[in-house]
Amino acid sequence: MSTDPLDVATVRKDFPILGREVRGHRLVYLDSANTSQKPQAVLDAITTYYERSNANVHRGTYLIAEEATAALEGARAKVARFIGADRARQVVFTKNATEALNLVAKAWGRAHLREGDPVVITELEHHANIVPWHQLRAEVGIELRWIPVGPDGHLDLTDLDRLLDGAKVLSFAAMSNVLGTLTPVERLVAAARRVGALAVIDASQYVPHMATDVAAWGADLVAFTGHKMCGPTGIGVLWGTEEVLDATPPFLSGGEMILNVTKEGFTANELPWKFEAGTPPIAEAVGLGAAVDYLSGLGMEAIREHEVALTGYALRTLADRFGDEVVVHGPSEPAERGGVLSFSVGDIHPHDLTQVFDERGVCVRAGHHCAKPLMKVLGASATARASLYVYNDTDDVDALAEAIAAASDFFAP
């Protein structure tokens, strides 16, 4: 990995937490698909905001309120540029990707879907792109259809035409948070277009890791979340075309999202504020703005190259060292996936596995990863999942391999 397009040693210095020792070991953080660590620049941006310009936005006629408003709207413009949006007003700040997807299913969905209307999702969705549709099914009786996942971890599109027949919505993840699978976004959007279905993309795992161009995707709505892309908790994004956002009624309501309120009713504000009820996550937006600056500084192409190379290294290392004892789920080609490695080690339960890892400072998540329908397809109730990001290197992968060996020894019958 001498040709790593990222200078990981330098990158690591940007992340204060990576200097921490746990249980006498250096922290080996391999859970970025769950949440990413935060660089100093993001923490500084948040602190500086609070120490210099904290005020409520869009409201005050005094200097720090103007600064706060400029900070919030400036962050919106940064995010818009980062994802290739035409205009900042297409970027709605929510509290996380989950709220964004709820907005889609409930505000757009309630207004446009009727009993029997087919909504198509995939078997590899995160619960955030499943449960809101279940709620809508209980409420208005939509029909939920599932694009299956094949044994190679890719979507099985054999029956796509039939599944999409009459569909009103196609909503899918651009990258699986369990398998790392990259789904064929353009093809799926085109297929949705052909049947006139709303095309919704859950890009929560994609935006942090790959250059994103929502305009090129051509979808209607795209959701993602701040904390997985070096940003703070408490903020997510819904991007949408103005046509679709305009045709979506308000969701949460209260201050900020109104033009007028009387005893008789209310008039909604313009985009994007129409969807931002109450005091927005201001410091969080500022932090997210700093995060996209940080990621842009590293370069999204370089990040992707780094992750493809490191994923390849990880797949080779585990195969060479453990052979059949370690099974990695999902696509075998690094170019077809993100750096998310769900794996099993013999018949050691993932919880027991990661407990041993923890002794060595190796942070890996065990569980269903909020994707229970996919776990069912995989025939497992849980997997261990190691996921890579800008600050991971071959040492981390080697530490993972050591930890697997240790667990294998410990639980050897």
């Binding site: 409201r59 006629t61 408003t69 205009r87 900042a88 007028n260």
Partner: protein
């Protein structure tokens, strides 16, 4: 640092204290359009009576700060008797004057704005507003409301971005 005198030119205070075309028109034949500044509650009501392509009569009601009310007053004087095309031209020129700063509110990037071609007259006194970003919406409120009254697509790009 911009001073208060940049904002509150004498002519602005004059229009505020003695608003032109204040009042209402009978609806119909006139139309009535309400505009709100969601951020501060300012309201402008624009009554417009067209004669074919020409704006025959205009009246302004509502309440608001000196900037929103004087801007409405100046606007009413400027557009009365003009054709739709002339009014659109004026609106563009006025927005151009205003939006220079407003765009920097968002991303810190200067946006290319065509030089205004229409003669703004008194309205040029509102130029100082651009140094006070939050007040820009006060100044543009009546213009947006008029645009809506004339049925044109409200060009709210300057506000939203």
């Amino acid at each position: 640092m911009p001073g208060l005198e940049d904002l509150y030119r004498e002519i602005i205070l004059d229009h505020y204290r003695s608003p032109r075309n204040r009042g209402e028109l009978e609806v119909p034949p006139a139309t009535r359009t309400e505009g709100f500044n969601p951020l501060c509650g300012d309201e402008v009501v624009v009554y417009v009576q067209m004669d074919g392509d020409q704006l025959d009569e205009i009246r302004i009601a509502g309440q608001g700060c000196s900037i929103s009310q004087s801007s409405a007053s100046m606007m009413s004087a400027a557009v009365k008797g003009r054709t739709r095309a002339e009014i659109e031209e004026l609106t563009r020129a006025f927005k151009a004057m205003m939006s220079i700063h407003e765009s920097t509110l968002e991303g810190g990037e200067e946006v290319e704005v065509e030089a205004p071609t229409a003669d703004l007259g008194d309205l040029a006194a509102l130029q100082g507003v651009v140094k006070f970003p939050v007040r820009i919406k006060c100044a543009t409120l009546s213009w947006n409301t008029l645009a809506e009254a004339l049925g044109g697509d409200r060009d709210d790009r300057a506000e939203a971005e």
